[in-house]
C-alpha cells in the first residue's frame, strides 16, 4: 500500500529553495494560484521510496513567519491551519551555509509550531572554499533536529535527504524557544484564556494580519478581548522575541560554526563596485537591456515567421482538402488562425524569460532594483517595474507576465495596468503606414518629420505609462507594505535546470491560461466578419459580378471580399459606430478596422487592405489607396489631422485581446482588465478627439 506525505519547503529567498524543489520534483510540478490571491502555488511529487510519495509544496521565500506581504501570509496561514488539505506532515527549512545565522531564525519559528522540521543546509560544496567548518552532530543535538547537507548545484545529498524525510517520526517537535519568557504576565493571561492551545500559535494569530481557516478565525474574534496591548507594544515584543531567538542561535553557532575570513573571496564586492556604480552601473544596465530587447526583436522574428507560415499552410491545407462548408471555414479561418495567434507569442515569451531568469538567478536583478528604485518610486512603481515597462516595447504579453517578481501587490498591479501604454511591436505596422500616408516629407534639424513622429509616439506612450502610474498611486486604495527592504544576494552562476524550468513553465502557463480567451475572442471576431445580415452579404458575388462585368476573376474576388466585409456584422458594427468616431476624423471603414484590430493591432492594416480590395501584402498599393481616399465632404480621408488622431488612438487604446487575457490571468479577476479596456478606450477617444479638433 502506498503512503503519501505532505512536505512544505520553507526558506529565506536566495537559499536555493526553488532549486531543491526543482531537483526533487522536476517536470512533475504544477504551478497554480492560491485561492483568491495572485501568489503562485508550486506543487510537485517525488517518490521517496517504493511505497511512499512526497507531495512537496514550495512556499514563497520568507525571512520569518511574521508576514509582511501576501506571499508571506500564505506561509503562516498554511502552517497554522491544520484543516488545510496541504497542512504539512513535516517541513524542510532550507538554509544557505553562508547565511546560516539569519536562516536559522525561520527554522526556530517553524520548529516552535510543533511541526517536525528538518534543516537542509544548501551549498554544502562551498563550505571549504568559503573557509566554513560546521560540526553537524552538535548542531543536530542543540537544534533537536536532523540535518541534511545538500548541494543543488552539484545535485548531492538528495538521497540522504529522502531517507531523513522517511524517518521524520523521530524528530522532536518540542519548541526551542519559550515564547512566554518575553512577557510572562501577558502569556499567562493568554494561556488561561485558551488552555488547550499552543501559546506560540496564539501569539502568531494575534500578531499577523493574515486570514486564517474557519477555526482560527473564531479564535481571533474571541481573542480581541485579550488584545490589551497596542500595536507598538506588540511590535516591541516581536523585537524582543527576535532578539531572544538570535541569542539562542548565537549560542548554538558558537559551539559548532567557524569561519576563516581569510579564505573568503572578495569576488562579490569587486563586482558590486562596478555593477552598481553611480555611472557605470546604469550604463551596464541599459546596455544589458538594449541587448535583451534587440535579441527579443531579432531572434524571435525567425520563429515567429515560421509559426505564421505554418499556420497559414495548415489553414490552406484544411480549406483545400476538407469538403467546403461552415465547419471547414470555421476550422481554416477561425480556429487555426486563432491558435496561430496564441502560438505566435511563444518565441517572445520564451526569450524574455530566458534572459530574465538568468538575471534573477545570477543575483543581478536585486541590483537593478537598487539602481532604479529612486527614479521609479516617485511614480509609485517598483525598481523592478523597469523590466516590464521596457519589455512592453516588444510585447505587453511577456512584459505583464514578468511583473510576477514585484513583491508589493500595489506596485505590481499599477505596473500591469500601465504597461500596455508602452509602444509594442504590433503598433509599428499601424504607425508605419499612417506615418507614410499623412506625415509630410521634410527635415527638422537633420531629422525627418517621419522619424520624429515615430519617436514622439514612443515617447508619449512611455510618458503616459508613468503619468497614469502616478495618478493610480494617489487614487488606488490598496493596503500594501510601504517599506522597502531588499536583500542583495551573492552572485551566482545560473543553474541551467532552473532557467529551463522557468521558461517552460511561463510559456505553458501563457498557452493554458490566456490562450483559451484569445482563441474564444478570435473565433468570435471571425464569425462577426464572416457572416452578415441580409441580401447584400449573401449575394455579394452576384452583386459584384453584375456591377463590374468587365473585371477579371482576381479583381472580382477582391471586390467581393471587400463587399462582404462591408456588409458583415463587423461592417454593420463599423457603420453603427460611425457617428461616434466622426468627431475623431474617421469614417465607417476605419471603424471596421478598429473593431477587427481588437484581435491584434497589426490586423488594422490587413483589414484596410481587404476593404480597399488590394492584395494583403502589397503595402505600396494600400498606401496609395489610403492617400487617395476621399471623405463625404470631398476632403482627403487620411490627412494630417485624422491620421495623427488615429495614431494617438492606437497609442492609448487597449486594442489587444491577448493583453486583456493575460491581465485577467495575472490579476485573477475580470475587474482589472475590463477597467483597463474601458478607461484606456475613453482616454484614447478623448485625446484623439482633441488632436483632431486642434489639427483640423
Amino acid at each position: 500500500m502506498s503512503k503519501s506525505l505532505n512536505i512544505a519547503l520553507l526558506g529565506n529567498p536566495n537559499t536555493g529553495k526553488t532549486s531543491l524543489f526543482n531537483s526533487l520534483t522536476g517536470l512533475s510540478q504544477k504551478v497554480g494560484n492560491y485561492p483568491g490571491v495572485t501568489v503562485e502555488k508550486k506543487e510537485g511529487v517525488c517518490k521517496l521510496d517504493r511505497t511512499t510519495e512526497g507531495y512537496f509544496i514550495d512556499l514563497p521565500g520568507t525571512y520569518s513567519i511574521n508576514s509582511s506581504s501576501i506571499d508571506e501570509s500564505i506561509v503562516v496561514e498554511l502552517l497554522l491551519n491544520k484543516n488545510n488539505k496541504d497542512y504539512p506532515d513535516l517541513a524542510l527549512v532550507i538554509a544557505d551555509v553562508e547565511n546560516l545565522k539569519r536562516n536559522l531564525l525561520l527554522f526556530t519559528q517553524v520548529k516552535d509550531l510543533g511541526i517536525p522540521t528538518i534543516l537542509v543546509i544548501n551549498m554544502a560544496d562551498q563550505m571549504k572554499r568559503k573557509g566554513i567548518s560546521l560540526d553537524i552532530p552538535i548542531l543536530e543535538q542543540t537544534l533537536e533536529t536532523k540535518i541534511a547537507l545538500v548541494s543543488t548545484r552539484e545535485n548531492t545529498g538528495l538521497d540522504e535527504l529522502k531517507k531523513l524525510i522517511l524517518d521524520y517520526g523521530i524528530i522532536s517537535n518540542k519548541p526551542l524557544i519559550q515564547i512566554n519568557s518575553i512577557d510572562k504576565k501577558y502569556f499567562e493571561n493568554l494561556e488561561n484564556a485558551f488552555p488547550r492551545q499552543s501559546i506560540y500559535k496564539l501569539w502568531l494569530i494575534i500578531t499577523q494580519d493574515a486570514n486564517f481557516g474557519a477555526i482560527q478565525r473564531t479564535l481571533i474574534s474571541d481573542i480581541s478581548k485579550f488584545q490589551t496591548k497596542s500595536k507598538s507594544e506588540i511590535k516591541r515584543l516581536q523585537q524582543k522575541e527576535t532578539i531572544k531567538r538570535y541569542q539562542f542561535i548565537n549560542g548554538v553557532l558558537k559551539k559548532c560554526f567557524q569561519i576563516d575570513k581569510a579564505s573568503a573571496t572578495d569576488f562579490r564586492s569587486k563586482l558590486d563596485r562596478v555593477l552598481i556604480h553611480k555611472f557605470w552601473g546604469y550604463l551596464i544596465f541599459f546596455s544589458i537591456l538594449m541587448i535583451i530587447f534587440q535579441s527579443i526583436f531579432s531572434w524571435s522574428e525567425v520563429p515567429m515567421d515560421f509559426i505564421d507560415n505554418c499556420f497559414n499552410y495548415l489553414s490552406s491545407v484544411a480549406s483545400n482538402n476538407l469538403p467546403s462548408g461552415v465547419f471547414t471555414d470555421l476550422l481554416s479561418e477561425g480556429i487555426i488562425p486563432g491558435l496561430g495567434g496564441i502560438v505566435i507569442f511563444i518565441p517572445q515569451i520564451a526569450f524574455l524569460f530566458l534572459f530574465l531568469s538568468i538575471l534573477e538567478e545570477t543575483g543581478y536583478m536585486s541590483r537593478v532594483v537598487f539602481l532604479m528604485d529612486r527614479g521609479l518610486r516617485r511614480f509609485g512603481l517598483s525598481g523592478k517595474s523597469i523590466i516590464p515597462l521596457i519589455s512592453g516595447t516588444a510585447c505587453a504579453i511577456p512584459a505583464i507576465m514578468s511583473t510576477r517578481n514585484i513583491e508589493s501587490w500595489k506596485e505590481r498591479l499599477i505596473t500591469i495596468l500601465v504597461t500596455p501604454f508602452t509602444t509594442c511591436s504590433a503598433r509599428l505596422p499601424v504607425y508605419a503606414i499612417l506615418i507614410a500616408v499623412v506625415i509630410p516629407d521634410g527635415y527638422f534639424l537633420g531629422f525627418s518629420y517621419k522619424g520624429l513622429m515615430l519617436m514622439f509616439l514612443y515617447l508619449i506612450g512611455f510618458l503616459m505609462a508613468l503619468g497614469i502610474a502616478w495618478i493610480l498611486t494617489k487614487t488606488l486604495s490598496i493596503h500594501s507594505k510601504s517599506y522597502f527592504v531588499i536583500e542583495l544576494p551573492n552572485y551566482k552562476i545560473p543553474l541551467i535546470k532552473n532557467v529551463a524550468l522557468t521558461v517552460w513553465e511561463k510559456t505553458k502557463s501563457f498557452v493554458e491560461g490566456a490562450g483559451k480567451i484569445i482563441l474564444a475572442i478570435s473565433i468570435l471576431l471571425w464569425i462577426l466578419a464572416s457572416y452578415g445580415p441580409g441580401e447584400n452579404f449573401n449575394q455579394a458575388e452576384n452583386i459584384i459580378q453584375k456591377k463590374y462585368p468587365e473585371l477579371a476573376e482576381k479583381e472580382i474576388e477582391l471586390k467581393t471580399n471587400s463587399f462582404k466585409l462591408q456588409n458583415s456584422y463587423v461592417g454593420v458594427l463599423g457603420r453603427s459606430i460611425e457617428p461616434i468616431i466622426t468627431p475623431l476624423g474617421y469614417d465607417w471603414k476605419i471603424g471596421i478596422a478598429i473593431i477587427t484590430s481588437f484581435a491584434a493591432r497589426e490586423v488594422f492594416v490587413g483589414t484596410l487592405a481587404t476593404i480597399y480590395s488590394v492584395q494583403n501584402d502589397d503595402n505600396d498599393t494600400i498606401k496609395n489607396k489610403m492617400a487617395s481616399e476621399i471623405r463625404k465632404d470631398g476632403k482627403l480621408l487620411f490627412n494630417l489631422a485624422s491620421g495623427t488622431s488615429l495614431m494617438i488612438f492606437y497609442a492609448f487604446a487597449m486594442q489587444c485581446m491577448s493583453t486583456l487575457a493575460v491581465v485577467k490571468k495575472e490579476t485573477n479577476s475580470w475587474k482589472w482588465p475590463l477597467g483597463q479596456l474601458f478607461f484606456m478606450t475613453i482616454l484614447a477617444y478623448f485625446i484623439s478627439f482633441l488632436t483632431y479638433q486642434i489639427l483640423s
Binding site: 547565511n99 545565522k101 511590535k235 523585537q239 527576535t242 552598481i276 522597502f484 542583495l488
Partner: protein
Amino acid sequence: MIPLSQLKFGENACIESTEIDKIPLKLIEMGCLPGNFVTIIQKAPFDDPLYLKVDETHLAIRKETAKFIFVKLIK
C-alpha cells in the same frame, strides 16, 4: 550617535538603537538589532537607497528608513 543615513561610504559603525515604530519588523529580523555592526557598501545617486552590510546580511534600504536607525562610529 548619528542616524545611519548620515554614515559615509566605507565607514564602520555599531547599531545603538532603532526607532521601532518607524522601521519594518523584517529589517529587525534581518539583523538590524542593537549591538550588530553595519557598513555602507554603496549609495545610489542622491544617496538613496543605501546598500548596507548589517551583521552578515547585505541589504538595501531607503534613506527614509535609515533615518530611524542610530549608530555609533567605530574608528
